[in-house]
Each structure stands twice: as C-alpha cells, then as structure tokens.
C-alpha cells in the first residue's frame, strides 16, 4: 500500500498518526533535481546504556532504547533505513556496546551507525569499530548524498595524557569539566570530506550526520565542534544541506546560510534536567544547570526518537515523544529555514545566525 493511498482512504481521522508512517503531505518542489525521491528514514540516538555489573544494566536506559526500537518497528511502510546517532554506551565498555547491538538487532530495517564520545573515549573506538565498521563514511540513497562524520575527536595530546582509559572516558563524559576538551572533526577527516564532496554536484541534496552539533552552542557541555566553521564552509556551496546531530538530548533547529540544522532526542534522558531528581537510586550524571521537567518520575519524560521525511532534498523531523505531543520541525520553503509546525516563536527569539 502506498502511503499516499492510505492518506486518501483514511482521511482526517488519522491526522497526526504515524501508523502507517507519515501522513504529512510532502511538497514536491518544481525544481527538484532529477532522481531525487521522497522517502523516510528513522533516527534513534543517545541511549547511554550503562553496565552496572555483569549482565545487569541500568533499566531506565535499556527501556528507552527498547521502546524506541519497538515503536520504530511499528512503522508501516518501514523506514528505508535507521540511523543510530551515537552514545550507544555510557562508559565505552565492550559490554555496553554489545548490549546495545543486541537491542538494536530487533530492528527490522537496515541500520547505519554513528559514533558518539561515550562509545569512543574508553578504547578510542576500537570495540565499536569491530562491531559496526567505519567511524566515518558516506553513501547515496535515492538521489541524496549522506555523510556520517566522526565529530567527537579531540587533539592527540589530550587523548594520550591520561593514566587510564576510564579516567579519559569519565573526564570526557563530564559536563562543565575544565579538564575536558572540545570536540572536532579534525584535519584528516576534513581532507576526506573535501575529497568526498568534490565528486558531488552542487544541486545534489546533502544530509550530514554528526554526533555533536556542527555549530557552536555551548562549549562547557561540548554542544560544540571546534572546526564547525571549516565544515560549514565546505558545505555552503551546495544548494540543499541538512545537518542532523545528536548529543544535545533536546530539540534544536537553526539555519545558517544554506545549511539547515536539526537535532534529535535521546532515548535516555533530556538535557538539562534538575538535580533535585532523587526519586530512587539514580545513575544520572550530576548537572549544573536546571530545567523544569513535567515529571521526572515518568522515565520517558522528555525523551524520544524520530522519523525523518526527505522531500525535494529537505528534511522534516517528526519527533516521537512518549506521553507528550509529538512535534514536527519541517523545512519551510517560504522562509527557507526549519520551523516547528505548531509552536511559532515569532520574533521573540531569533535563531542563532553566528557561530
């Protein structure tokens, strides 16, 4: 059954439903490049699975990923692929990454993997690579060029200054830690990216996945990539560029020049959250900045996953938010930037245009 057929037959009754997947009537621009098709993929990210001991893992984080996987499997038609956005584990242990691979194996669609700093700074991504392959790569799908970057690298000196891998990992996992180090894509990967992009026509739609934002938001929490400007510079010449990133555990969207930025939700916990959260023995890292949450007792509060409609080279992010109103951030062809389809900020809060 074609999605469009379903829309016609079921009408308004199903507005907002995602089973079958999306009922968003996609706008096909007249100037859509030949060969570009509309399609949907899913994005699950930041599960932070944490081993307590042996076969015991933090239940809350496990349930978050399992729920996202189970809900994603309900999509009909199936998404073309599912991107995992990084931070599968919490402390980079092989046991965590293997446990995550096991949970993700229940997905019924092809997987693409991206690395997060929590998967990396224990053994510098060795076990992750053994399980999932390349740390950065590109692929083409239905006329769109996809690039998966490893944006969580940092300088070599910092990497090798630690006595133990655990020390390195826990320092990088901390927030507002003066001993941390800013993320970067790095020179060699930038050279690879330059070469990769050199074969791509300027009117080809590009989607870049990065774990950290390829824009500078807040350094203390590494909502930051040090060489973001250099990457943006390489991407600006293309007509339609979409950057989708994890790491921030909240919904963000922004437009810088030709580049649309969208973030994704975490399946584990939202940033920020209150330090007053002390319902039971907890495994949340300590926080310095607080935010009101509806109810931290509700474990899936302010978490979620998303499916993404690609149309005419633009991305619309459909956030699936348990016990919450689902949200859609769609590219507005008129204003030429991503916008929430329901919540309008008006002029009160201008988007970030600088770095």
């Amino acid at each position: 059954m074609k999605r469009r057929d379903f829309i016609k037959s079921s009408g308004a009754m199903l507005a907002g439903a995602i089973l079958p997947v999306s009922i968003v009537e996609v706008v096909v621009a007249d100037d859509a490049p030949k060969g570009s098709e509309n399609f949907t993929f899913a994005f699950i990210s930041d599960s932070h699975l944490q081993q307590i001991k042996g076969t015991k893992f933090v239940r809350n984080w496990d349930m978050g990923l399992k729920k996202a996987v189970a809900e994603c499997n309900l999509m009909n038609p199936k998404p073309d692929f599912i991107l995992y956005g990084g931070d599968l584990g919490q402390l980079g242990k092989a046991a965590e990454i293997d446990h995550g691979a096991e949970i993700l194996s229940a997905l019924h669609s092809p997987m693409r993997m991206m690395l997060g700093e929590h998967d990396y700074y224990y053994d510098l991504g060795e076990h992750w690579s053994k399980r999932f392959g390349d740390k950065y790569y590109s692929f083409d799908h239905k006329g769109v060029h996809f690039i998966v970057l490893n944006s969580i690298l940092t300088d070599e000196e910092w990497i090798h200054k630690w006595k133990t891998p655990e020390e390195r990992m826990s320092t990088m996992a901390g927030l507002d830690d003066p001993n941390g180090s800013p993320f970067m894509v790095g020179a060699s990967q930038r050279a690879w990216l330059k070469n990769d992009l050199s074969n791509i026509a300027k009117d080809t739609a590009i989607v870049v996945f990065s774990h950290s934002p390829l824009q500078k938001i807040y350094k203390g929490w590494n909502f930051w990539t040090d060489d973001a400007e250099l990457i943006q510079e390489m991407l600006q010449p293309f007509d339609k560029v979409n950057v989708i990133y994890g790491h921030v555990h909240q919904i963000q969207y922004n437009q810088i020049g030709n580049i649309s930025f969208n973030s994704v939700m975490s399946t584990a916990w939202p940033w920020p959250y209150p330090s007053t959260y002390k319902q039971a023995k907890q495994y949340l890292p300590k926080m310095t900045i607080e935010m009101n949450r509806a109810d931290p007792f509700f474990e899936r509060d302010a978490t979620g996953w998303q499916f993404i409609d690609i149309h005419s080279g633009r991305v619309d992010l459909n956030y699936q938010l348990p016990n919450n109103k689902n949200r859609t951030i769609a590219f507005n062809e008129k204003s030429r930037k991503p916008e929430d389809t329901k919540y309008k900020l008006g002029d009160k809060m201008p988007p970030q245009k600088h770095y």
Binding site: I18, M63, K67, A70, L74, E299
Partner: protein
C-alpha cells in the same frame, strides 16, 4: 429571596436533584442533554431492558449489574447466546459508577461521551448482537409504554423516536450512578481525622509518595475522580500478542480499512464502530489498546486509567480481567509491570511503570487504603459470580 424560590421551583420541576457526594466534583452535564427526572427514569428502564439484544436476554445491566457494583465480576464479559453458544468479549466490563467523569469511554476511549458509548453494545456482534439501531428503534416504537415515555421526555412523536433519544436517556441515567462518601472522602474532604485508621493513612502516604499511584489515579485538593483520563501501557496483556505486535498492528489496520467499508454499507458512517467490532471480537486486536483507535505508536497496548472508587468491589482487575486480587495489582505495579521478579515485560511499557521498591508492609497498607475507597451504598456488594 424571590430568586431563591424560583430556583427551588425550577429544580423541583425539571431537574434531577441529587445531593453531591463528598469527594466528587459536579457531574459534567452536556448542554444538549440536561438531566430531568423523567429522562433518568426512562434511561433506568432502558438500561435494564434485555430486549435490545439478539436473544432478548442481554441488557446494559447484564454486564453492569447494580448488585455487582455495576460490573459483572467476570474477567471478560459475556454477550448474547444462540445455537453457536454464548458470545465472549475480549475485555473486562468497567463499572458504570462515576463513569460520568470520564472524558472518553471504553478501555481504549473510542467514544467521547456516555451517549455515544450507550449506542455501541446493543449492535456489537459479540455483545447485544442486534443487526442495527433501526432494529432497536423499531422495538421502542412497538412498545406503547416507550412511545409514551419518549414523548413525555423528548416531546417526540412515535415516528421521530431515534437511537439518539435512547442514548440520551441511558446516558442521563448513568450520570446518576455516582458515588463518593467513602472513608477516604470523609478523611480527605470531610475533616474527619479519624475516618481512616493508621494502616489506611500509611497506605494513603504510599499512594501519594513512593507508590506514585496518584500520578495517574488523580486526587485533587477538593475532589478525587482517580483518573487522569489518559491511556497508559502498564504491561498487562502483551503476552497475547505473542511478540508479534507489529504484524498484528499491520493486520489490524488492513482489516479495519476493509471493515470500515462494510460497516458503512450496513450501518452507516459511524465513527469507530468498525474498530468497536474488531477489538471486541478478536483478542489480539483488543490487546492493541488505544493504538487501535489513535494509530499512534506510543499508544501500543495502552488502556484508559480507570477510577479506583469501589475498587474492592469490582474484581477482577485490568482491561482483560487478568488480575484477581488487589494484592496482585499492587505487586504488579511494585515490580514495574509484572507479577514475578523474573517475568518479562513489554518494550512498550509506559515510562511511569517502574519498580517502586515498596516493602511488604507498604504493599499491605496500600491494599488496605484501596479498600477504604468503597462508598457506603456498595459496601455490601459480595464478589460472587
């Protein structure tokens, strides 16, 4: 003074006067279906009339019997019988008591009002089994007593009697089936500090704090309806899907499309009537819960939060009647959606269903507290089949 007199007169002549039970807010009355004594009386009669079923033996009160606290004390309800035997539904009959406060009806909230709710069971193929509402309305028109009563209540001639009149009368009656005045209400809202004993008070504390029951079964400063009117997956019934939730959901959507067409042809375009038939006739579809109506993935196997008033008198529990005692129910929540520590649970579980770490004493106190939610008029209900 004069105005006061007028008010009294007005109430005496047209309105059903009902003392507000302690602990309940005013009953919401739809503007297009005001309460009148004669309408309530008619609704009461209709509610108990077994003629509106294929075998002439099933009325609303069959599954919602007053002497059984307006439920049937069965795990899942029985419908009409014929040569093929007795039809069995897929869900447990929720009590009618205080149903007036729900913002949607049925376990999956497939209708928005008591009026809409009352219309479905008579024509559901496993409940009343009538072919159509026309059939029901014909029976009303053939009964001179009903013709007279409908004329009196709705000022309609015989030929103009419709299923909507039936629905309004039944709903009006159901809006009188409300009950508060429990020990809890006297303690909480009546200023009787000793209405609850120590164990019940400890249970209330568990309810409000570590047990977090109150998150969904709400209590406010002035009243308690014990429901958030939302839908939650609490892990009940998922085993019936045998790990095939995706396949069952997809099959359901396909079947629903086809069934909507045939229902529309047979009975007219009636919202969610096709879903009503599918979920009550096929156990696996029933277990899809709210998803069967909303088609949202987050609603997979989610069911409506039901009231806890008179909960001691409305066993068995949960949408499928799978838990027999309040002790089991409390254990279920305490373990985060299971009866035994090593049982598996569903990936679709609501984020509020998590291990609570209650002690055995706390569990006991909680059960004792739940038993203090019984209203005096249902205190003598015996849980017998």
């Amino acid at each position: 003074m004069r105005r006061w007199k007028e008010t009294i007169l007005l109430m005496a002549s047209t309105l059903f006067v009902h003392a507000q039970p302690l602990g309940l807010p005013p009953v919401p009355i739809p503007a297009d279906n005001p309460q009148t004594n004669s309408k309530i009386k008619l609704g009461d009669t209709l509610f108990h009339d077994a003629r509106f079923s294929a075998d002439g033996k099933v009325s609303c009160s069959t599954c919602h019997a007053k002497e059984k606290a307006f439920t049937d004390h069965l795990p899942v309800s029985k419908g009409f019988s014929d040569m093929q035997g007795t039809r069995m539904g897929t869900r447990s009959a929720p009590t009618v008591i205080n149903a007036a406060y729900y913002t949607s009806l049925f376990w999956d909230g497939r209708v928005p009002s008591l009026e809409e709710q009352s219309k479905f069971p008579p024509i559901n193929p496993v409940e009343g089994g009538l072919h159509s509402w026309d059939h029901l309305v014909d029976m009303l028109k053939k009964d001179p007593n009903y013709v007279k009563a409908f004329n009196e209540v709705f000022k309609v001639e015989k030929e103009a009697i419709s299923i909507e009149h039936f629905a309004k009368a039944v709903a009006s009656f159901e809006r009188t089936v409300i009950s508060g005045d429990s020990k809890f209400d006297r303690y909480m809202y009546g200023g009787e500090k000793d209405a609850l004993n120590d164990a019940e008070k400890r249970g209330l504390k568990v309810y409000l704090e570590q047990g977090r029951c109150v998150s969904c079964h709400t209590i406010s400063q002035t009243h308690a309806i014990f429901t958030d009117n939302q839908f939650h997956n609490i892990g009940v019934g998922f085993k019936a899907l045998k790990g095939k939730s995706e396949a069952v959901a997809s099959e359901y959507i396909e079947r629903l499309k086809a069934h909507e067409k045939s229902v529309a042809k047979d009975k007219g375009e009636i919202k969610n009537l096709a879903a009503d038939e599918l979920v009550l006739s096929e156990k696996r579809f029933s277990e899809l819960g709210r998803l069967a109506i909303s088609h949202e993935t987050d609603d997979m196997a989610a069911f409506k939060t039901v009231t806890l008033r008179n909960i001691d008198k409305t066993a068995p529990y949960m949408h499928d009647g799978s838990l027999k005692t309040l002790e089991d129910v409390v254990t279920w929540y305490n373990l985060g959606g299971k009866l035994k520590e090593n049982d598996s649970t569903t990936a679709f579980l609501d984020g509020g269903i998590r291990p609570l770490d209650l002690s055995k004493e706390q569990e006991k106190d909680l059960v004792v507290f739940l038993k203090a939610l019984t209203s005096p008029q249902f205190a003598n209900v015996k849980d017998v089949k």
